[in-house]
Symmetry: C2
Subunit: 336 residues, 2 copies
């Protein structure tokens, strides 16, 4: 078991130097001669030494960054994670993901666990805890919050500009000639503020107002079923909308099903747009117009900010990433 592990003492013995010297070489610290450098490096290679992160934790860094995921099923997590690991690929940092669940309590348990494992910093993706809890975590360790608008005193934040994203959709639909554009959002029940769906709905309202149009928001849930139910209700109205903007692609898929069942053809009878640009949106069979968040950029930015924080920056930063509209086959001009 652990008996087989090569330690810094083994390396020191092999190279005929002190453990302190080996530690210096490993850390790239000041005060090492070229000769010492080569001697130790060689011994490390020969023995296949790797520093024991847990032992390091007791004194300094662990070179481990934790990413708390609020919902493993969220389809653009992979992009964000790729962005994070990509940005960190050439550093010594390792990334570990913690499935935090969707409950504040389980998320708190996970962040505690990460702190207990002395991770050097945390990236929290769409956390649902209160601002106070968030602030408490941020005093214990450097934190970057992803996907949550608002208050960021003690930590950094990376957000998608959801107001802009919603605006892009509305502008696009208005440009096509639509005037009755409805929005399906997620029913607010968490106490956490600044969650994306709220901001998207607000962005939709702003954009509609800017065009002098009446807004029409229906709150169900961001699931296929939620989209289906919402669309069914909207399509049953006398002056049914000619376009539905769902706040999430998964809900947009439900809208498409409702259109199918109602015998409406897309986009002739009904235009449909989503948000998130999940993988299947691009499948030719679906071809859903959607807002793309560029998870890569979001993840890379979060990683960047976190490393900066760890390395000493104390001023707090909020970075906003601009989304882009991907126009596909589910949106078109309304039937005259």
């Amino acid at each position: 078991m652990t008996s087989g592990r090569v330690t810094i003492a083994d390396v020191a013995r092999r190279a005929g130097v002190s453990t302190a010297a080996v530690s210096k070489v490993v850390r790239g610290a000041y005060g090492v001669s070229a000769e010492m450098q080569t001697k130790v490096t060689q011994a490390i290679e020969e023995l296949g030494y790797r520093p024991h992160a847990a032992a390091r934790a007791l004194r300094g860094r662990t070179y481990t960054l934790g990413v708390m995921l609020s919902d493993t099923r969220n389809p653009f997590f992979p992009d964000i994670i790729e962005g994070i690991t990509g940005r960190l690929g050439d550093t010594e940092y390792q990334v570990l993901l913690g499935p935090g669940g969707i409950e504040p309590k389980t998320q708190a348990r996970m962040t505690d666990a990460m702190i207990d494992r002395s991770m050097d910093g945390l990236i929290l993706i769409s956390p649902v805890m209160t601002d106070a809890e968030l602030a408490a975590i941020a005093t214990a360790t450097p934190v970057v919050v992803v996907g949550r608008h608002g208050g960021a005193a003690a930590y950094d934040a990376v957000v998608d500009d959801d107001v802009m994203g919603a605006g892009l959709v509305v502008d696009h639909l208005v440009g096509l000639g639509h005037t009755r554009i409805a929005h399906i959002t997620h029913l607010e029940r968490a106490r956490a503020q600044g969650l994306p769906h709220t901001v998207r709905a607000e962005g939709y309202r702003q954009a509609m107002r800017a065009h002098g149009l009446a807004d029409d928001v229906l709150a169900t849930s961001f699931t296929e079923e939620g989209g289906f139910e919402g669309a069914r209700e909207l399509l049953a109205r006398d002056d049914r909308p000619t376009a539905i903007f769902a706040g999430a692609d998964i809900a947009a898929l439900g809208v498409l099903r409702a259109a199918d069942e109602a015998g409406l053809s897309v986009p002739e009878d009904l235009s449909v747009a989503g948000y998130d640009n999940i993988g299947i949106a691009s499948l030719k069979r679906i071809s859903l117009t959607s807002v793309d968040q560029d998870g890569h950029v979001i993840g890379a930015t979060a990683a960047q900010l976190l490393v900066e924080r760890i390395e000493g920056r104390s001023r707090s930063v909020t970075s906003s990433v601009s989304p882009t509209l991907i126009v596909r086959g589910t949106t078109g001009p309304p039937r005259p």
Copy 2:
């Protein structure tokens, strides 16, 4: 920072006992009086003490289990992870996920990192490394391998019975009256043996033989594009198949697109079946017949086996989980 951390010494001081005694209480070890128990427990609560996992690591357990993910995009990972965390929910163990990437080298880096962080055990999901590398890891720490058939001397394994799954599909299609059933598989290029797609293809061949039918395997890749290309080739043949069984749902979606483009209606002109039962397969708009692996059971079993290993079992176990066929709208009797 760390200065704020409550340590076992603080608890000992508060309770007026030794650190050794506190440690005993925390670990539930032998030799603690009822009075000591309550005194210490109370002090722990008052101070909000949580054991420092990194410090624990140096002596005993870390109560951390690592799960290496080979491909974060794989749509049934969430189920497996839920199965794992669900099974572990009432224990002291915490689960951390490591994105290992799809390259043997990056996966090795991740498993090394997990071992360096002295995790108590590892679950490897569809690892692509060689059997030798796998065995090496298994000597360093308890290991459970998920989704890889074959050799399991030093570690436990949980596999989906892919032979059975492929058989279910073939039996279903033959039962509907199909005789020309083609299979699309993933092009083998990794050196790792026993990967699911190989076994599924073999199961398909066995089942076809059992029915006295000729097999027809085409290797492209498990992507939407791979399914599309494969289907296009198959459908261009003179005696084109009346049913296509894709080894993965994502490829099956490509098959559906190819059918659309060829003007074939599903399932009348072509039956299509997939494997994995990914979330969107159940969307009414897709309604794909598929084989369900029950990721929950797989994950829960893996967690169970790992904990058993950690707690001392040395005999190696391989657990096979039976898949089920979910019949939906993309399969039906062939046109007479």
